[in-house]
């Protein structure tokens, strides 16, 4: 078994609001092996982006352990953390706001190159920037262009090049393709996969698009209101989803084929408030299988098959427990 690159244990992030504590991330535990991709899926407000930012302490977690190559990131001081930044990078969703409008392509990417400390002279840095632009498929003539002169796909490539420049071991991709058109989206997804094959680094891929996450991830974690409801290898999750929420989510994907409509599980209601949640299954109010036990306590993650974890009181190996 490959060595774990990242282990996150009991990660919590609570925000103080005027109406109480907002449980953005509530007790998340996962592992990521070197060279693999973990997909985090969920709807807006489920805490997936917060999780991504907490892992690299861009947002300070409330509690938990983040072991990166065995080292606990939580115990590092601000200064030590800064020097760890080179190992973990992030690619953002919005190619329009993730680049400084006043920096040229060269300046944006060079900022990452300088962090490595390997390239001393101006020429060396510039050569490396050109090399990186080549890697992500940006024409060299754009080196002095400003972001506003470029389209979304190209900007996203700059964002990726900037993250690559640091030569990270782990890259957190926060909805890197959701702001892009389909044809451009496919270009970027292919680029991310090719880079992984060539350079062997790991991704945490955060998205709400199930088709995309299925395509790119080895394992998928489904989040609902700050908690993991199901985690499994991608193939298994799509073949045999176990949690009622995952099932509903999967059945809601519109499939681009004539007559492909399956039995859609329509959820009632909408996501409830993450402020001071009760000790109950967070999904119980929308769940078709909810019983008294679901309202009484919050289910723990348990393994129902090798590598397949689920947090549901009502699941049984033979299917959902019917009343």
């Amino acid at each position: 078994m490959a060595e774990s690159l990242l282990e996150v244990k009991n990660l919590k992030k609570y925000f103080k609001t005027s109406r109480g504590m907002l449980h953005a991330v509530d007790d998340i535990t996962f592992k990521l092996e070197r060279g693999k991709t973990l997909g985090i899926v969920g709807e807006s407000g489920c805490g997936k982006s917060t999780t991504g930012r907490c892992v690299m302490r861009l947002i300070e977690p409330t509690s938990g352990e983040i072991l990166f190559e065995g080292k606990d990131l939580m115990s590092l001081s601000k200064r030590e953390m800064r020097s760890m930044r080179g190992d973990i990078q992030i690619v953002f969703q919005d190619p329009f706001s993730s680049l400084d409008p006043r920096s040229t392509v060269m300046q944006s990417i060079a900022e990452g190159v300088k962090v490595t400390g390997k390239y001393g002279t101006r020429q060396a840095i510039e050569a490396r920037v050109v090399e990186l632009m080549d890697t992500v498929g940006l024409a060299q003539r754009l080196i002095n262009a400003y972001p506003h002169e470029l389209d979304g796909g190209r900007r996203q490539r700059i964002g990726i090049a900037r993250a690559l420049a640091v030569e990270p071991k782990l890259s957190i991709c926060d909805e890197p393709v959701s702001a892009l058109d389909v044809s451009i989206q496919a270009q970027i997804l292919n680029l991310l996969q090719d880079l992984q094959h060539q350079l062997g680094f790991s991704y945490i891929f955060i998205t709400h698009d199930l088709a995309v996450v299925n395509h790119i991830s080895d394992d998928i974690m489904v989040m609902y209101l700050g908690q993991t409801v199901e985690m499994a290898p991608s193939e298994e999750l799509f073949r045999a989803p176990a949690h009622p929420y995952t099932k509903a989510l999967l059945s809601a994907i519109p499939i681009p084929k004539v007559g492909a409509t399956r039995d859609r599980i329509l959820l009632k209601g909408e996501i409830s408030s993450p402020i001071d949640p009760e000790d109950a299954c967070r999904f119980s109010k929308r769940c078709n299988y909810a019983a008294d036990v679901c309202h009484a306590s919050c289910p723990k993650l348990r393994e129902i098959a090798p590598g397949h974890l689920i947090a549901c009181h009502r699941f049984d190996i033979n299917g959902m427990i019917e009343d």
Binding site: V182, I184, Q185, A186, L210, H215, I255, P256, V258
Partner: protein
């Protein structure tokens, strides 16, 4: 084949009874002092009662401009309707006087915008907003309008008591339901839905799509559904028009577009999508980028990205090639006998 085309043109020429919408040769430009954006070029759309037409395309393809033109809402300046005619239920929209236009908007056509957060006025209750729209088009008392507003809310699955609440008290999906309720409150014959579910989560999107399908069955409303998501198209549309750089480059029934794809761009769109049933399949994106809308070629704007393009594609304008009464593509590759696209495996 040629005969058939002439037939088709002949049948299109007079205002056919029962066509809710007829757009003919619509061209819209955005003119600034420096340059001209050819937003929509030579578009023709016909829509029968109860039909749903899906308008697919990427950012900047001209989908929204087309919809706005149907309501005569293209911002002037910089928008200029260069040519074409638009008839909604037989009424000439582009030349209608303001008063008649107001009557057409709302009672004949209404529109749902992408972002439910900004399409509601935050200082009025949702009941007020629906009632206002009712009162503007049906001469009725305030009480009757309120009664109707509450009925509409129930229809879109919101308890009638919530009519007294303000937009900020609703979640995104709920707001979009309210927007739909307003759009449907005057019983329009044509509904223009501009990416109505793009801002919503998948499970909520499923609810809203379900609702729209129900309502369509109930009222037999015709609909133009603008989206970039081919999955949604497959689910609710009868016919599909694919737009690229301001032109409809392929149009046909759902089955024709999805199972007998003819235009290379449509093929490229399908190949770009991750296949949910086969996660190892490599994506085949369309190379390159959308063309500059100020410098569109005379011929095919897709030619620079097209794997089948020949030099003359970009220079000579394409004639629509009809494959059936309902299915055409703007592609000159078909002038060569035996040309076909291989995506017909389904």
């Amino acid at each position: 084949m040629i005969e058939k085309r002439q037939d088709m043109n002949a049948s299109r020429a007079p205002a056919v009874e029962g066509n809710i919408l007829e757009v003919r040769d619509l061209t819209v430009h955005f003119v600034t002092e420096d340059e001209t954006v050819q937003a929509v070029s030579n578009i023709s759309i016909t829509l029968k009662k109860g039909e749903i037409l899906g308008l697919v395309g990427e950012t900047g393809a001209g989908k929204t401009t087309t919809a706005l033109a149907i309501l005569n809402l293209v911002p002037v300046p910089p928008g200029v309707v260069k040519s074409g005619s638009i008839r909604v239920c037989g009424k000439d929209v582009l030349n209608a006087p303001v008063r008649e236009l107001e009557q057409i908007r709302g009672s004949d056509v209404s529109m749902i915008f992408q972002d439910p957060m900004t399409s509601l006025n935050p200082v009025f209750t949702v009941g007020d907003q629906i009632a206002e729209s009712v009162m503007m088009h049906d001469k009725c008392s305030k009480a009757e309008a309120w009664e109707r507003a509450e009925e509409m809310l129930e229809l879109v699955g919101i308890p009638r008591e919530r009519a007294y609440e303000y937009p900020h008290q609703f979640s995104g999906g709920m707001k979009q339901r309210v927007v739909i309720a307003i759009a449907l409150s005057c019983n329009p014959k044509l509904l223009l839905a501009d990416e109505p579910t793009t801002a919503l989560d998948v499970t909520i999107q499923a609810q809203v799509l379900d609702l729209m399908c129900d309502l369509k069955e109930k009222f037999d409303t015709s609909m133009i559904f603008i989206t970039h998501d081919l999955g949604i198209i497959a689910e609710i549309c009868d016919r599909v028009a694919v737009m690229y750089a301001g032109r409809i480059i392929e149009e046909g029934t759902l089955e024709e577009i999805f199972n007998h794809t003819k235009h290379p761009y449509t093929e490229g769109l399908f190949n770009s999508l991750p296949n949910i049933e086969d996660r190892t399949a490599k994506l085949r994106p369309i190379p390159g980028l959308m063309p500059d809308p100020t410098k569109l070629p005379k011929g095919c704007a897709f030619a620079p990205r097209c794997p089948y393009a020949r030099p003359e594609c970009i220079e000579t304008p394409q004639e629509p090639k009809y494959f059936s009464d309902t299915h055409f593509a703007l592609c000159s590759a078909y002038s060569e006998p035996g040309f076909r696209i291989d995506r017909e495996e389904v």
